[in-house]
């Protein structure tokens, strides 16, 4: 015969073990805390880079010189667009780096950060226009290019580039 006390103990022990026997070991599931921090993205919001962003205007699907590449970007060795060592110039470098890798939303955000510091820098408004143009947001590109022009003053390069970008944006928006 089996002693009841022992039986109970064995069964309880078994039951506890059984409760876990079908489960993986300790290094199985991830810590819940990490889950908790990764909030799901609301359906309505858009991740930058999810939709393929056009590198160029739609009228130039093939690689080759585009209006934007021809016109506004400064050539190496040319004089800087903004006074060096200013926060706006530092941010403009970051803007250009972000544009280079195609991170256009971030480039726009950085331009805006620079604009909050130097709201009358025509170069910054122009850069924002270029970014929106590359994103095919032509109406916005037009508005920013007009604003760049209105602030360009005696800066002939920004004046010329922003006028050209206005023409391109208006033409692209009309299509």
């Amino acid at each position: 015969m089996i002693k009841p006390v022992q039986t109970l103990a064995v069964l309880l022990l078994l039951s506890i073990v059984a409760g876990c026997a079908n489960l993986p070991g300790r290094d199985g599931p991830p810590a819940p805390v990490v889950d908790a921090r990764e909030a799901p993205v609301p359906a309505s919001s858009r991740q930058p880079g999810q939709a393929p962003l056009p590198e160029l205007g739609p009228q130039q699907p093939e690689p080759g010189p585009t209006p934007l590449q021809r016109a506004p970007l400064p050539e190496a060795g040319s004089q800087p667009e903004l006074p060096v060592d200013t926060p706006a110039a530092a941010l403009l470098d970051e803007v250009d780096a972000a544009m280079e890798v195609g991170d256009l939303e971030r480039a726009a955000a950085l331009s805006e950060r620079a604009l909050r510091i130097a709201p009358r820098e025509a170069v910054l408004w122009h850069r924002l226009a270029e970014i929106r143009y590359r994103q095919q947001r032509y109406d916005e590109a037009l508005g920013f290019a007009q604003r760049a022009e209105s602030l360009a003053g005696s800066n002939a390069r920004v004046l010329r580039d922003s006028q050209r970008l206005q023409e391109l944006s208006a033409a692209a928006a009309a299509r």
Partner: protein, 785 residues
Amino acid sequence: MYRKWHNAARMPPRRKTSSKPRKSRARRKARGWRLGRVFFLLFFWVGLAGALWSTWIGYQVRQQFESLQWALPGRIYARPLELYVGAHLSRQDLLFYLERSGYQAVRGAPRVGQYRDTDAGVELHTRGFRFWDGEEPARALRVGLSGQRVTELHSSAGAVTLARLDPVEIAQINPETGEDRIPLRRDEIPEALVQAIVAVEDQRFYKHYGVDPLGIARALVTNVLRGEISQGGSTLTQQLVKNLYLTRERTLRRKVEEAVMAVALELQFSKDTILTAYINEVFLGQEGSRAIHGFALAAEYYFGRPLSELALPELAMLAGLARGASWYNPLRNPERAMERRNTVLALMHDQGYIEAASYQQAKDAALGVSRGSLATVRNGYPAFLEQVYQDLARDYDRQALRSEGLRIFTTLDLKVQHTLEATLEKSVSAVERSTRGSPAALEAAVVITDASTGEVRGLAGSRKPGYTGFNRALHAIRPIGSLIKPAVYLAALESPNLHLASVLADESVSIKLANGDYWEPENYDKFVEGDVYLFDALQRSLNLATVDLGMKLGVAKVVDMLARLGHDKRVNAYPSLLLGAVEMAPIEVAELYQTLASNGFRSGLRSVEAVTSATGEPLEYYGIRSKQAVDASSLFLLEQAMYGVFDNGTAKSVAGKLGAHLPLVGKTGTTNDLRDSWFAGYGDDLVGVVWLGYDDNRSSGLTGASGALQIWAELMKNLDIQPRQTLPPADIVWEKVPRHAERDATWRDCSTTRNLPFRENTLPDPGWFCEASDSFFERVMDRFQ
């Protein structure tokens, strides 16, 4: 059994059972077997049921723990402070920001989250933050300041071009449970906190399997020796299980469940995972309907600083709270909290976690609790937050904002908002005294936006800071009076035949309306001025001249101009529109003036800049918009005219106060019976709209100039508004005109002149200007010859 059976065999028969001794023994034996079987079956079934139940519980615990997702409140941040040489910032402003951000003032070299105010400047060690547009590193900086400007910015590596502080959290959108927490990963938890928790709550935590009979015994002994309940018997795992899954009832069944679940949890998850969950879960305080969960939030709540910046005694105090957040609440029961903290420290020392020296030092430290700036500032800007919720509602439902831990970056400038709050009540009281005493309070609303980007920098929905009732900035829809005039004059200046020196008739007029009635407007002072220049009529806000201009131009042009400047609602083209018979909320007025301030580019107003996930992943960015509404030259002409509002127009009473800040652009507005007192204006950096009036629409006794303007001027002076500097567009030329308006060229008097800008292509006949013409005497003589 054997012995029992044996004994039974040796036992003398109690009763003589002569007849069927064999038979009765057999029956007894059979009955024994039956009893055994019953017991066995009972054990078997009970055991089986127990096994199934435990399996079920184990399964459930695993499922639930794996999918454990805390509802995280949405967090709303103010605009971060940008530091760079030339930044518009006084030392006082910087210290204000540091205090609001929970930076701790120290005497020695600042560590992360600390600052030192010295003669040479402010030294601080920033915290670092993951912004939408990139990571800001934590670094030690020295900021030199002079007057209202940053003059120097250095780190140990040399000059720094640009740095920004971590943004101040101004509000949360709490989950429906009322629970609030900032969850941490294991590697973000300070070791000293882990040691303190283990020392006081469950010192054999790393040795047991969820339940700890030895621990219970030890706790009992400790408590008896110390003569107080300093330690509990249940393990951290049991406490976690209890908090997560079980009710508060104290029954045996619940105790057993708790133990089984704790063991199941331990068998399936690592100690670190369980500990991390415990540290994030535990309840540590209550503020109104908001429950403070987890140590990270508790650190902010009690010390106004992040957990990572707390020292040993502070961590020990928090660890001590887990036992009874209300009983040991350091804000209400500091002595009890201090005692409890020292108990924790003593246990840490006893268990070898801390040396005697640091134990002594920590024991002697002050409690250091500060219902710091972080906590009190929360949800302190209800008027602005209402605007934020409105803007967010376009893309996010309430549930997502409440539970997914979204980080919302707003445009609120704390410096602007606080200056606004500090100025408003005082300056409203000042103008209120001058009106006939009335029982209800004069009310106010203010909107301040960024002149270039349309970002809302500050908002007041009442004269009282933090007022949560009717938000007048968004909802008090009132006639705007003369605030409309810039739209009328701008529409005029766009026309090729009108310019600043056009002569208008400021004369009584009677206009027949569509319904047959006659409209007979008057000037505010009831006088008529006769012939006046267009610019002069605007500066002095002459009603009759404006009606003359508007009727020539056509009211439809004004309706169109309002729409272009940003007013989206339908407006009736009645003649009375020319004098502001259109109702708007202050925020709508701000939208119109913002378009003027951004040189005719419509940006719309924004209060939210970006939204990221709880971990900083970018979700949505609400960028600047910019659509040209008016050409730069027309706007330039309008601004030039409006500078005069301060020099010799309706706002000249504040010209002295604003001296160094001029030129500025602004306009007074007064409505019928002095019900509404308005002022809207802007400089290079800010746009401000002020409304004063009574909620029940009775007369305020104030004109735009005697009421709202006074508040606007005081506020803008305190905000150090930057003078307006608009570059003249290429087609602007300057010409001299006679000081006094005169239609007939013959009678123009060029002995005193004033210089006015004109658009090249709208220049009147060249002979019209003073320089080109002969002297007054010569012209009169010519005429007679």
